[in-house]
């Protein structure tokens, strides 16, 4: 293969059956277990991410229901303090790390190449590695929990309670190493999103024509690349303190060093697990309002601005640590100002609904109700940003209410809406709308019944992370209502899962574009073929499928375009204007990512157990997997044809 093969001018043709057949042979994953394990298809990986994340959502939910029983009235003795502590810590770890982030990675993985008119993510094997590492890290952490060694110091894992002196079991070792493993997964995934955004958009999709979901995930990914090293380092240093006798966190200042490193990561992470979800609403809601999103540019810039400011507010988790109030006041002001870009998004959504003519579907209900939940979670965050107020309400149930309005309101509700919206693209079938209404109303009412009263128990002084409370504190009835509400909410989530299971077989056939939506993913079949698009679309506006009705002067092309069929090929375009500049040779399916993930997990298991032979063996295996992964292939232009 010659170098010019990357620079040849591809032919232009209309979509046709012969081309489709040829592409299918090139891109299809081999049948059978090996093929399944080796697949690097972003759609396959996206679905795996979503399914796995939902399994963790269910596990985390069951944990919460158990401790809600414990808290339903004063002095209930269902759980021991140790059981309670492991449950609330594991619940937080599960929801924040194993559900909320990965589920959005799943949607973005599935949708990005389709939104971009691309064949796959830029780095398909890295994509597979990201998923396998996520799965392995989740299993690693849950294996510890099942063995009775779940984390017991909260997801924030403050030292010195996490130090060996106060926490002698292997719990924190499992948690530390599991988090590092998961951090690798998130980091490689984030790199893949950034590269894909910069290089894989269809010709003509300049950065002002990119769906907001892509802005959300891009911003979150860029943030993760900067934020995750802080927490991975912190966990590694802690592991060394606990196992090798180092003293990073046990001297003067050690406890605060941990908090800085943790929150420098964890506050941006909170934005990383909501911005893509906000993006899904920004893209999905206008479809039902029959109108482009009001203020696209402001919303896109607001997304980026939120993240930039989001790196400057971590200290608001440390307002009570005795830092000088003059420096705290800057973080307080920043934590209040960060509401401005959120206000942009809220008014953009409201304006889109008010100036459009909304079509009420279950997806629309989830998206529209999300705006109110977003407002509630937003204003309670604004209250915690005000330093003197925070000194009263921090570490009370007010904050528990706040963070659940953020994580359920701004993650779970958009995700449920997104599932109703894109399920037909994933499967070719629609979710049932009638069951959908039951699903929506049960979740919406259950959620508010369960979580709104937490604001009040917070204002009445109920501290967080207590396994029980005395009677006579004035919290009993509020907690009983919260427990009832949490069970109703759980029924709502169950209805969502029932709907998915039922509709997979019996849902109505969707067709390519059931919602008459404007973006590229709806121009291909449902479910899309392995190669996504037979010919590469050319994009002329933000709404390629609405151009005739919007009266856009230039027209996008989806039925005719560049033909790339000499092997697995994709078109590479430049970052700003998406001018095509190269043909990318895409790697095929491979077992190497799975092998590397397994070897990495074995290495971390060896570190927990101090089985140094296993560590050495796993390191060698990981090296072998990397060599196999990178072995030059002629069809990728990495080696000369023999």
């Amino acid at each position: 293969m010659s170098a010019t093969d990357f620079e040849r001018a591809p032919s232009v043709a209309r979509d046709n059956a012969a081309l489709a057949e040829r592409l299918r042979k090139l891109w299809e994953t081999e049948p059978g277990v090996i093929g399944w394990l080796a697949s690097v298809d972003h759609k396959e990986i996206g679905i795996r991410y979503i399914v796995t994340a939902f399994v963790f959502l269910i596990l985390g939910g069951i944990e919460a229901l158990v401790f809600r029983l414990q808290l339903s009235w004063s002095n209930v003795r269902l759980l021991t303090p140790e059981q309670y502590d492991q449950l609330f810590s594991t619940h937080g770890m599960t929801m924040i790390f194993l559900y909320a982030g990965p589920v959005l990675s799943g949607f973005s993985n599935y949708l990005w190449p389709l939104l971009f008119g691309a064949r796959d993510m830029a780095l398909p094997r890295l994509n597979a590695l990201s998923y396998w590492l996520y799965l392995c890290a989740g299993l690693f952490l849950y294996a510890a929990f099942a063995a009775g060694f779940g984390p017991n110091d909260g997801w924030f894992n403050y030292v010195p309670y996490a130090a060996r002196a106060y926490n002698g079991g292997p719990n924190i070792d499992f948690y530390s190493l599991g988090m590092i493993l998961l951090g690798v997964s998130t980091t490689v995934g984030a790199i893949n999103f950034v590269v894909t955004f910069l290089r894989m958009r269809a010709p003509g999709m300049s950065i002002d024509r990119v769906p907001i979901l892509a802005w959300g995930t891009l911003t979150a990914s860029a943030a993760n690349i900067f934020a995750i090293p802080a927490v991975s380092l912190a966990f590694f240093l802690l592991w060394m303190d606990r196992n090798l006798g180092t003293h990073f966190f046990d001297g003067t200042g050690g406890p605060l060093l941990w908090q800085h490193l943790f929150w420098m990561f964890a506050h941006p992470w909170v934005y990383a697990i909501v911005l893509p979800a906000m993006g899904m609403v920004s893209d999905g809601l206008p479809v039902f309002c029959r109108k482009p999103l009001v203020g696209y540019t402001a919303v896109a810039l607001g997304t980026v601005a939120t993240m930039v400011l989001g790196f400057g507010v971590w200290v608001h988790h440390m307002f009570a640590t005795g830092l000088p109030s003059i420096s705290l006041s800057f973080f307080s002001a920043a934590s209040i100002i960060i509401a401005v870009p959120s206000a942009i998004a809220v008014f953009a959504w409201l304006a889109t609904i008010a100036t459009g003519r909304p079509v009420v579907t279950t997806a629309f209900l989830f998206f529209a109700s999300f705006i109110v939940l977003f407002a509630i979670g937003g204003v309670s965050g604004y209250m915690t940003g005000s330093l003197p107020v925070d000194w009263q309400l921090t570490d009370t149930y007010f904050v528990v209410a706040h963070l659940h309005y953020v994580l359920i309101g701004i993650n779970v509700f958009p995700v449920a809406g997104a599932l109703y919206f894109w399920f037909p693209k994933f499967t070719g079938r629609l979710l049932d709308e009638r069951l959908g209404r039951w699903n929506f109303w049960t979740m919406f009412l259950g959620f508010n019944l369960g979580f709104f009263p937490m604001h009040i128990s917070g204002l009445l002084g109920m501290p967080r992370r207590i396994y029980t409370y005395a009677d006579g504190m004035g919290w009993d009835w509020l907690n009983l209502i919260t427990t009832v509400g949490s069970f109703v909410f759980a029924v709502g989530v169950l209805l969502l899962i029932v709907n998915v299971v039922v509709s997979l077989k019996r849902g109505r056939i969707a067709g390519d574009n059931p919602w008459d939506a404007p973006t590229l993913e709806w121009s291909t079949a449902s479910p899309p073929p392995p190669y996504n698009f037979a010919v590469i679309p050319t994009v002329a506006s933000r709404h390629p499928l609405w151009e005739d009705r919007l009266g856009t002067p230039q027209k996008s092309f989806t039925e005719a375009g560049l033909v790339l069929e000499q092997g697995r090929e994709a078109i590479g375009t430049d970052p700003l204007d998406a001018e095509p500049d190269i043909i990318l040779k895409m790697p095929g399916d491979s077992l190497a990512p799975l092998m590397l993930a397994l070897a990495g997990t074995a290495l971390f298991a060896g570190l927990v157990a101090h089985w140094w032979w296993l560590v050495a063996l796993a390191a060698v295996a990981a090296g072998a997997a990397i060599v196999g992964w990178l072995w030059p292939e002629a069809k990728l232009g990495e080696a000369v044809d023999a």
Binding site: G251, G253, G322, T355, V372, P388, Q392
Partner: protein, 322 residues
């Protein structure tokens, strides 16, 4: 229930709520808390209202796959200008208000009357009343007496893991962190018992790490302080206590001088046991001594395995420590 509350030392129906305030610092924070709650409720109301207004033209879904009109007009940007503009004004106002309150509570209006050193331990509070004259320093635990109407400075020391000192009726939280000493101040406007609580997760018994602040008129406080400096009068049971309990607990003026657990000098004057967990009376004390792990599982006091006779002696002795 009211009876039990009173037994535990407080009368309020919601002893930890921070919407009511009882001293200079909490008084200064309260309007800001209520003001931001009001602004928040207004924002939620406006957003909900705008959403409902926006839904007035809502319609049911047509058959999937049918083509619908798409609206062309780019109207709606004025919503952003007005909405974001107004929000920004409210946010800026909130920052100014925040900083003003911050300045107000940064230090007390007069020099603090006394300095109390609190060391937080799993899961109780060691309290030392500092004094330039070392002979006037004394220790107590879990119950802090202060004079009414005078600011009190607190030196907060982390004893083991991180804890947080919080008496919501009097002011906000400050953490106690190993390796550093934090400071805060509180002042009570009127006599009363104010409940406090550890609010930084600190392990198994984080839930049962309460404290009481007892505000008294200055004369009464001075009398209390003078009394605390007195040694315990010799009493029967002193030997049994020193032998069975003295390794961990101290009683001023006796051979019991343990440092691991709460100082029990003048124990009978205290209102609660086990960090504001139980009322301090004979029957609760007996059940505590019978098995502290049954009441506060995981706490560092192991089951003392006392004979019935020993337990009765020690209970009687502790009840004599007025």
């Amino acid at each position: 229930m009211t009876g039990e509350r009173a037994q535990l030392g407080w009368a309020a129906a919601t002893p930890l709520d921070y919407l009511t305030s009882h001293g200079a610092k909490a008084d200064a924070i309260r309007p800001l808390t209520i003001g931001t709650v009001a602004i928040s409720l207004a924002v939620i109301g406006i957003v909900a209202l705008l959403l409902i207004v926006g839904l007035r033209r809502a319609r049911t879904a047509p058959a999937p796959g049918s083509r619908l009109e798409v609206m062309r007009d780019e109207g709606g940007l004025s919503w952003l200008w007005i909405g974001v503009g107004l929000s920004s004004l409210v946010l800026l106002f909130s920052i100014v208000w925040t900083v003003a309150v911050l300045a107000e509570i940064a230090s007390p209006s007069e020099k603090p009357a006394l300095t109390v050193e609190i060391t937080a331990r799993q899961w109780w509070w060691q309290v030392r009343y500092l004094n330039d004259d070392p002979s006037r320093i004394f220790a107590t635990a879990n119950e802090i007496h202060i004079p009414v109407g005078r600011p009190v400075r607190f030196k907060l020391v982390g004893g083991d893991v991180i804890h947080s000192f919080w008496v919501p009726g009097l002011g906000g939280k400050t953490d106690l962190i190993p390796g550093q000493t934090n400071e805060t101040w509180l002042e009570a406007r009127e006599p009363g018992t104010y409940r406090g609580q550890c609010t930084e997760y600190c392990g198994l018994e984080h839930a049962r790490m309460g404290l009481l602040v007892i505000a008294e008129p200055p004369a009464q406080f001075e009398a209390w302080r003078a009394h605390q400096l007195r040694s315990a009068a010799p009493a029967s049971g002193e030997g049994a206590f020193a032998m069975r309990c003295g390794a961990c607990h101290a009683v001023r003026g006796t051979t019991a001088a343990g440092m691991l657990g709460p100082d029990l000098s003048h124990f009978a004057q205290r209102r609660t046991l086990a960090a504001a967990t139980l009322p301090n009376d004979g029957s609760h004390l007996e059940s505590w001594l019978d098995d502290p792990q049954a009441i506060k599982p995981g706490n560092l006091m192991q089951k003392p395995e006392l004979t019935g006779q020993e337990r009765a002696t020690i209970v009687a002795y502790l009840e004599s420590l007025t």
